[in-house]
């Protein structure tokens, strides 16, 4: 049974027809202990065939720095404890400052519905709260 999810994730990724491994930086604040979701996502994305780096950050500025160092295509931030609007702003500011347009930003965790439009307006391409499937995340990354 356990392989079901992983196989579906692999197929989803396979369908997207990437010519090289997509690099994903998954990260969350070093204060936020809720790592169960992001660790699951990290495992699933790497099982699906992506290259996944998982870090914690003290300041949101570090996220973009790490993404540049790692050559990431995607930044995935997990946030279950508030402050997601601030982090969104800071990430976009840093990306703009560096003149980077091609890194996709996605979020997971507990994000109140009212904040979703604000985050999307600031360039977040996907927000994956409780109940989201790995396939949905892969679709957002590969589209």
């Amino acid at each position: 049974m356990a392989e079901g999810t992983t196989n579906q994730a692999k197929e989803e990724y396979g369908r997207s027809g990437q010519d090289r491994k997509i690099r994903v930086l998954l990260t969350k604040s070093r204060m936020d202990a809720h790592d169960r979701g992001i660790r699951d996502v990290a495992k699933e994305l790497s099982n699906a065939g992506m290259e996944v780096v998982f870090t914690r950050y003290a300041l949101p500025e570090e996220i973009v720095k790490t993404a540049i160092q790692e050559g990431s295509d995607v930044i995935g931030v997990s946030c279950s404890t508030g402050g997601h609007l601030y982090v969104t702003e800071r990430i976009q500011d840093c990306l703009e400052k560096e003149g980077i347009k091609e890194i996709k930003v996605i979020f997971g965790g507990i994000i109140p519905d009212v904040d979703v439009p604000k985050m999307k307006e600031r360039g977040v391409v996907g927000i994956f709260g409780p109940g989201s499937s790995v396939q949905e995340i892969i679709r957002a990354i590969t589209e």
Binding site: M1, A2, G4, T5, S29, R30, M31, D32, A33, H34, D35, R36, R39, D40, K43, R56, A58, L59, T81, G82, G83, H84, L85, Y86, V87, I110, P112, D113, V114, G129, P130, G131, S133
Partner: protein
């Protein structure tokens, strides 16, 4: 337990049962508990042949399987230890007053406050630290100076208050502040009651920056050493299985890992020269109650028995209090679902009911909206009402350990115990708890189990109503969300900056310098100093939480476990 005649009849009866079963159903059922312990469709006397009254005597008797007190809830119900905390001290105080008004009670009508601190305080930072942006007061109350405690407890009869501070590394700091606050209110530390978490080896289930294991233990021992000398009624340490469970562990893992950390801490304290009977009585447990009803009930009974037996046989404890596991229950947040959130009321009710049947000593019932935000006032009150309805209306408080003697439950209690001992043996075999921790073995065990659970949900092998079955099409039910005003952050910054400005800077610096010296001695393993005293002095000189914690982090080290 049963005479030969009864057992003979039981075997005949079983055969008859099997015949009628096979006649009616084409297949046999194979079931497992959430932890993977196989269970049969029905249990009978032959399943508890080794039932021994010595292991299961009446409540209040060693090894306390059936409860630590002779009377369970007849004289005194469990503590309504509802977790609360958000914003600044004044915001949380408002919620405290509401909950007290609605009947939140400690033992014998005393007040009980189970206060959760925000992540900024948890990380030992002041609100004006750049790392604090966006997080002040969001998921707990922000406390970074004595002034915050003054606002929080203003006018409350401190001698009748049981105060818990849900915070990790700064446990010792919060207690120091609380001692100082008590002093100012004329209540000596001997009369303070409450609880510090004080268990800091959490890297395998709590993914934040922390002290390295050896130094984390030194700090825990410091708090215990101080309290066993000066505050004999303060509950120093909370051995939390709940956070292990929430990280994804099974019930059996929760049971084994929690005991393993308790044993490790006892051994560390003994190495530091403390006698178990002087400090073990003030260790308490926090267990999670998840969805597998009987398995979690069995877990409580197994834990009480194991804790008593281990402490008696292995550590030579003779003080009955060293053998009695006091258990606080936290219904599991990870069982709550964002979809169809009202269903969470039913989940939390079942879990609360289970914890009561298991004889919990204190209880936190999760609010139904916790999968969405911190609880609204209405949801928090409803969670308290859940406990009150079970206490006053269901009739279960009349009889202690009412499920004892159930063939299934007694057997399951034994099975849980056996499985947990096996894990404890494995840990010992790999060189002990610290080894299991440092090598990442514990972390791996939990992560594996967490992923297994998720896959079981994905494949609908495990049904969660509203999440993977019975989903509703179209419009989703809107429930009110609690929103913490972002302006709180600015107000907290202003308070701490004002607080720092209005103090004798020279005196404060002096106290901080002394704290640094004492911290170095403690780190070196020197037993002639009390870190608590240096902290109290620092807070007396109006140092802040961030200032004191930054010294401790510097001396002891601070970073990720893995």
């Amino acid at each position: 337990m049963f005479d030969a005649e009864t057992l003979k009849k039981d075997l005949e009866d079983r055969k008859a049962w099997e015949r009628s079963f096979k006649k009616r159903y084409l297949k046999s059922f194979e079931n497992k508990t959430h932890s993977g312990i196989p269970v049969k469709s029905v249990y009978s006397p032959s399943d508890i042949l080794d039932f021994d009254l010595k292991k299961c005597p009446s409540p209040g008797n060693y090894p306390y399987t059936r409860g630590i007190y002779p009377a369970q809830y007849q004289f005194q119900a469990w503590m309504n230890q509802q977790v609360h905390g958000y914003g600044q001290a004044e915001d949380t105080r408002e919620r405290m007053d509401i909950l007290v008004k609605e009947g939140m009670e400690g033992y014998f009508g005393n007040l009980v406050f189970n206060l959760v601190l925000d992540l900024v305080s948890q990380a030992g930072l002041d609100p004006d630290d750049p790392e604090a942006r966006g997080k002040v007061g969001q998921v707990g109350v922000h406390i970074s100076c004595l002034k915050d405690l003054e606002i929080l407890f203003d006018g409350l009869p401190l001698k009748k208050v049981n105060a818990s501070f849900i915070v990790g590394e700064p446990s010792i700091c919060l207690l120091a502040m609380y001692i100082l606050y008590g002093e100012g209110r004329g209540v000596p530390k001997e009369n303070l009651r409450g609880n510090t978490m004080n268990y800091l080896l959490r890297g395998f289930n709590w993914d934040v920056a922390m002290y390295p294991p050896k130094n984390a233990l030194k700090i825990s021992v410091e708090l215990i050493r101080y309290c066993s000398r000066f505050m004999p009624t303060w509950n120093t340490t909370n051995l939390s299985g709940y956070i292990i469970r929430e990280a994804g562990a099974s019930a059996v893992q929760e049971l084994a890992f929690t005991l393993a950390k308790g044993m490790n801490l006892i051994e560390t304290c003994m190495e530091a020269g403390l006698k178990p009977d002087d400090f073990v009585p003030r260790f308490g447990f926090q267990l999670g109650f998840h969805n597998d009803f009987f398995e979690d009930i069995a877990k409580y009974r197994a834990l009480r028995r194991m804790w008593a037996t281990i402490n008696h046989d292995r550590y030579g404890c003779r003080n009955p209090k060293s053998l009695q596991a006091r258990i606080h229950t936290h219904t599991c947040g990870s069982s709550l679902v964002a979809q169809q959130p009202m269903n969470n009321i039913i989940r939390a009710t079942l879990q609360t009911f289970g914890a009561v049947l298991a004889g919990t000593n204190a209880l936190q019932t999760s609010a139904y909206d916790e999968a969405l935000s911190i609880p609204t006032e209405q949801a928090a009150t409803l969670a308290l009402r859940t406990q009150q309805i079970i206490q006053h209306e269901s009739g279960v408080t009349k009889v202690s350990d009412p499920l004892a003697g159930s063939y299934y439950l007694e057997r399951l209690t034994d099975e849980m115990e056996k499985s947990a001992y096996k894990i404890l043996d494995t840990i010992e075999g790999m060189g002990g708890f610290i080894k299991a921790y440092e090598t990442g073995w514990l972390r791996e065990q939990i992560a594996e189990e967490a992923l297994k659970w998720r896959h079981r949900l994905d494949s609908v092998e495990e049904v969660i109503v509203g999440l993977n079955r019975y989903q509703e099409e179209g419009e989703k039910v809107e429930v009110p969300h609690f929103h913490v005003d972002e302006k709180i952050e600015q107000r907290a910054i202003e308070r701490i900056q004002e607080y720092r400005k209005n103090r004798d800077q020279g005196k404060c610096q002096e106290a901080l310098n002394r704290l640094r010296k004492v911290a170095v001695k403690v780190e070196q393993g020197n037993r002639h100093y009390f870190l608590m005293e240096a902290l109290i002095d620092a807070y007396r000189a109006k140092a802040t939480l961030g200032e004191t914690m930054s010294i401790l982090k510097e001396i002891l080290g601070y970073g990720y476990a893995y």
